[in-house]
């Protein structure tokens, strides 16, 4: 059986099926504000019932992309299709999308109940139906006893739930979440992330989340688009993004990583020896298919937790191994991060899970150590 990358959250991968039709399609979208290009010739497909994340640093164009789908901005070029229909010229109040705003944007003069009912009232639903739907939403976000409160009388977490309930009340075809958990503390945020995923699976709606928090994107979403300067760098599942980033940018943006510059010595395919690299004396062997040819300058990327650390030298010290001394230690509780200064001056980050409470001989500053890794632990990045 072929190895797979990381755990599989659910059996859902319409993007791998060439016959499936995208639910939302951004087609060659460009958005300019004056001289500034926020989004540049971007094409992206999102599928029905998918939980999709737009991830990137602030100013990368992710929010602009979402606002164009909601209708608050019109693309300068290109078109947005929802279920095959062009959304150009359709005002926000006629689009079947609802947004949960970063600031929550709750109406301060209305009670929780009224806030949730607002969207339903616009559809002129019968009063009884609105009341039933509001009650259902309040139950969903566990705020039944707060129905008559004003937003100012709620905590941050409760407000966030009201905002979620309000945006879900109309059963939108697409729910847009703009940095929805940014204002919550870490514990509550984590809890809510799992709740969001559950909710999305139960309701069977399409969710599009915008975030700069990679952990959040990885926890909740089926696929992530990593963006930089208005361009998508990679679209893939969280595990693929983490374990098989396609570029230095993505590798560096998501999680912690060692990037070692080097040149290709030989490249003979994953089956017959793989890629050999020479990184200023450090020999690295990788089992990988790689489009680069001998002599090309490339980067070798390896995550700290995949670097092994020990006082004893490994069996083979010629390849994928280097000696150095402990330069700095970060104790994170679950993990310890060691900065090892190799004899040639390079710093390698190695993480060790603290699986034992008591250690016989803990590593400390200045200890002579070996770092080494297996042939499939890291990968060669050509761009």
């Amino acid at each position: 059986m072929a190895k797979s990358l990381g755990p599989v959250k659910r059996k859902f991968s319409p993007w791998t099926d060439p016959t499936s039709v995208p639910f939302i399609r951004f087609e060659n979208i460009t958005k300019r504000f004056g001289n500034f290009t926020a989004v540049e010739n971007l094409t992206l497909d999102i599928y029905e019932r998918e939980f999709f994340a737009l991830l990137g640093p602030s100013g990368c164009g992710k929010t602009t992309l979402m606002r164009m789908l909601a209708g608050f901005e019109e693309p300068t070029e290109g078109r947005i299709l929802l279920q095959g229909k062009d959304l150009a010229g359709v005002p926000p109040y006629r689009r079947p999308t609802n947004m949960m705003f970063q600031s929550y944007a709750l109406f301060p003069h209305m009670t929780v109940e009224k806030n949730i009912a607002f969207g339903l009232e616009q559809d002129k639903l019968p009063k009884a139906e609105i009341a039933a739907r509001v009650e259902e939403m309040l139950k969903l976000v566990k705020l039944e006893q707060f129905a008559k409160r004003k937003p100012s009388q709620l905590s941050g977490g409760q407000r966030q739930r009201v905002a979620l309930a309000r945006s879900l009340a109309k059963r939108p075809k697409v729910l847009l979440l703009d940095e929805p958990l940014g204002a919550l503390d870490k514990k509550l945020r984590e809890e809510t992330q799992f709740e969001l995923t559950d909710l999305q699976h139960t309701l069977g709606l399409t969710f599009l989340i915008v975030t700069h928090d990679q952990e959040e994107a990885m926890t909740v979403s089926d696929r992530i688009a990593v963006m930089d300067k208005g361009v998508i760098m990679q679209v893939a599942t969280p595990a693929e993004i983490y374990e098989a980033p396609n570029s230095r940018y993505v590798a560096d943006f998501i999680g912690d990583i060692n990037i070692i510059e080097g040149a290709i010595v030989s490249n003979s395919g994953a089956a017959s020896g793989g890629v050999m690299l020479d990184c200023d004396g450090l020999k690295i062997a990788v089992d990988q298919e790689c489009p680069a040819s001998t002599g090309d300058r490339v980067a070798y990327a390896i995550r700290p937790e995949k670097v092994r650390l020990g006082i004893e030298p490994p069996a083979d010290t010629a390849v994928n191994a280097a000696a150095g001394e402990v330069y700095d230690i970060g104790y994170l509780g679950d993990f310890s991060l060691f900065l090892v200064k190799l004899d040639d001056g390079r710093i390698i980050r190695a993480a060790q899970a603290n699986i034992q409470r008591l250690v016989d001989r803990p590593l400390t500053f200045g200890d002579r150590v070996w770092v080494h890794w297996s042939r499939d632990a890291g990968l060669v990045l050509t761009r």
């Binding site: 926000p92 109040y93 999308t97 947004m99 600031s103 944007a105 969207g119």
Partner: protein
């Protein structure tokens, strides 16, 4: 242990006073709270009591032109026995006073509505203007204050009088023939024009303050939930600007009710306003007690509804 005996004794911990306790007994704190109350007592309560007392007196040909006057604490009994509600009874008996009150309230109410209708769109446009433009717009609203209020009202005479600028303008663009003239001066219309012009900044500024701090994403949220812009105005923008609407309306309505200068300069002989009536009683008739009674009633007419209204507001908020 050995090390302990070697180390010098620790200095005693400094006593930390809790700031809160210190504040409660601090006389300076009470002084700060007392100053505004003292101010109100001296410049509002005391003059009002004097006016109230005069309103209960009788006119006299003397200086000051009323009796009784305070003759020391020994005669306090006779002093109080001479006070009565005669002036108030007189106010109720002559319909000119009631008419003046009612007409003042009517003019103030209509003016306030006009001010709202003109001021709200102005304030909204200012609040929605580019951030860099807003201080300039606010400046332009405040600009008229740089000229004396009286001069500005006089300027309106020059505009509105039959041979004034308005007539010249209308004649030059052909709206009026040679012999025709604008007949607004010395009518209620001129009073309305003068009032709306003079009070507009007082309406626009509180409205602008309320609208400017409104979060624009609320309107995006409303739109996102299916609410078109014109409906969003009535459901979101207007209710959230209500504090500004109320503040602006009160700030305009109250002084307009007592307005004297504008009706006196622009209004006609038949423009009855309580401020004018009061002035006539005080200066022309030299009836200080009756004028004081008018002032006391005016205060009651304005203050009581406002106090009631603010109570309601606090309960609702």
């Amino acid at each position: 242990m050995a090390i302990d005996t070697l180390s010098p004794p620790l200095p005693p911990e400094p006593k930390v006073e809790l700031a809160d306790d210190a504040g409660r007994t601090n006389p300076a704190r009470w002084l700060i709270v007392a100053i505004p109350y003292l101010w109100l007592l001296l410049f509002f309560a005391a003059p009002f009591l004097i006016i109230a007392k005069i309103s209960l007196s009788d006119t006299a040909i003397a200086m000051p032109p009323y009796t009784p006057t305070f003759q020391g604490f020994g005669n306090l009994g006779t002093f109080f026995s001479q006070l009565d509600f005669e002036n108030y009874a007189y106010l109720a008996s002559d319909s000119i006073y009631i008419k003046s009150y009612l007409n003042s309230l009517r003019i103030a109410a209509i003016s306030t509505v006009l001010l709202l209708l003109i001021g709200y769109p102005m304030a909204l446009a200012m609040a929605r203007a580019k951030t860099s433009l807003r201080p300039i717009l606010v400046m332009m609203v405040i600009l008229p204050f740089w000229t004396s209020f009286l001069i500005r009202v006089y300027a309106w005479i020059g505009i509105l009088k039959p041979e004034g600028l308005l007539t010249v303008l209308f004649q030059s663009i052909g709206l009026m023939g040679e012999g025709e003239q604008v007949q607004i001066f010395r009518t209620d219309y001129a009073v309305f024009i003068g009032i709306v012009y003079s009070y507009l900044p007082f309406m626009v500024l509180p409205l602008y303050a309320a609208l400017e701090k409104m979060d624009h994403t609320l309107l995006e949220a409303a739109s996102d939930l299916g609410c078109p812009p014109w409906k969003a105005f009535w459901r979101i923008t207007f209710p959230l600007s209500l504090p500004g609407v109320i503040a602006g309306s009160l700030i305009c309505f109250i002084p307009i009710t007592g307005e004297f200068v504008i009706p006196d300069l622009l209004g006609g002989a038949d423009t009855l306003m309580i401020g004018k009536t009061l002035w006539t009683e005080f200066f022309n008739s030299r009836d200080w007690p009756l004028a004081s009674a008018i002032a006391v009633i005016l205060l009651a007419v304005l203050v009581l509804p406002i106090v009631y209204f603010q109570n309601q507001q606090q309960k609702a908020g």
